[in-house]
Symmetry: C2
Subunit: 221 residues, 2 copies
DNA sequence: TCAAAAGTGTTAAACGTACACCCATGA
DNA sequence: TCATGGGTGTACGTTTAACACTTTTGA
């Protein structure tokens, strides 16, 4: 039995997230073609017949923004008829987490998540959904560390958590709990970055996290 | 600028879940057409150009199984090239939770989740993913109650949690915690169903749950 | 009167939360 | 020597986890 003729377009859109101090930023580009020509939008494009959804997301990112080798995770698929004025376009949204230093985008701008401009299509809905998802996932997955450099100070981890959760955390309690999980390896390296005591660097140990997870342990702040 | 000609098919697949005592069951049907003719598979079908993904899932359920008015939630979109031998088919999987009494399916069989037969396409992967998701969601959302009748005994709630989590829970602690959340309304009704003391019926109060959630409270066993 | 599930409370351990000072450095 | 952020411990309240007997019913 042959397939019916396809009538629905499939695209991917990418929510690139980057943590700039206490500010969560996303990369928006100006639409180079109609509809919504010139309006801010998420980087996106149509899926090719021979590539997986994730491969499409990676390609779109590389081509439109120059960003490569990032952590990608499917967020949700938005498919309401009418979300694209050209016709029926269903889009699989992907979250991409990038580590500092922020790659200079070939195009577009790193925009603070709490000061978003008008956006094309339903991209505001998609970004709201992404922010929510990130917040929930923080509790039981190491997404926070995917927004940090390989080596980081405890302060930076706390900044990441505070930015994503949107509230302040107690320094001593945060450190106590984080270190008690034994998923960070303290390094014999320190950063001097101001007129104050240098901060120790740590590294996230993925396989220790995996072991924790098997035991059903969870990371709640 | 016109759209490129579509080359990818979009389908939906439904994971219908039903709780039969301590057994979580899903509705599987035998494929009525090639490929995988006669193999067990999830109910599914192609999305029409004018319907939303969720509407497509609801339609497929109604047509293929006769089940209506169920809770539907998007699970994940599976889109690897090669998952369908006919060509490129991307599928949005939806979880549907049904309350007892189990609707008698027009077609197919309620199959225990822990004794699945060989399945068509990547449907085993999809079911594994659904089981995982349900387990995670139990912690912070009232999915458990969507698998129960409107009025239920505490025993039934505990059975649901034990079935989904896959482990036994302490009766006294379970009840204490569940009742302390104040999301259940005790009714002046009891069920007599055996040579033992009758059990009180309760009703889940959605809007009390919403209030709890706003306060960031969570439901962990 | 027996078997079967409903219903109920206490205690100890673990965990979360609130809170303030000394340290190392660069200017 | 001062301003700045790094780093550390304790005490209290809340939550979890372990655990066994009495109640009500139908047969």
């Amino acid at each position: 039995m042959p397939l019916p003729r396809p009538q629905i377009q499939l695209s991917v859109d990418c929510i690139l997230l980057f943590l700039d101090g206490h500010t969560l930023r996303t990369l928006l580009i100006r639409r180079p073609i109609p509809p919504h020509l010139g309006t801010w939008a998420l980087p996106g494009g149509f899926v090719r017949p021979d590539e997986s959804l994730e491969a499409a997301a990676a390609r779109v990112l590389a081509v439109e923004t120059g960003v490569r080798d990032v952590y990608l995770e499917q967020l949700y698929t938005f498919g309401d008829p009418g979300r694209d004025p050209r016709g029926r376009v269903v889009t699989a949204a992907y979250i991409a987490l990038v580590r500092p230093p922020a790659p200079e985008p070939r195009e577009g701008a790193w925009t603070p998540m709490d000061a978003l401009p008008d956006l094309a299509f339903d991209h505001l809905t998609i970004l709201d959904y992404a922010r929510q998802r990130l917040k929930y996932k923080l509790e039981y997955s190491p997404v926070g560390f995917r927004l940090l450099p390989e080596e980081f100070t405890l302060k930076r981890v706390q900044d990441a958590y505070e930015a994503i959760l949107g509230r302040a955390l107690d320094k001593r309690n945060f450190r106590k709990k984080l270190l008690s999980l034994k998923v960070l390896k303290p390094l014999a390296k320190f950063v001097r970055e101001g007129p104050h005591r240098p901060a120790r660097l740590y590294r996230f140990e993925e396989e220790k996290w995996e072991r924790l997870k098997e035991k059903g342990n969870v990371f709640v702040f």
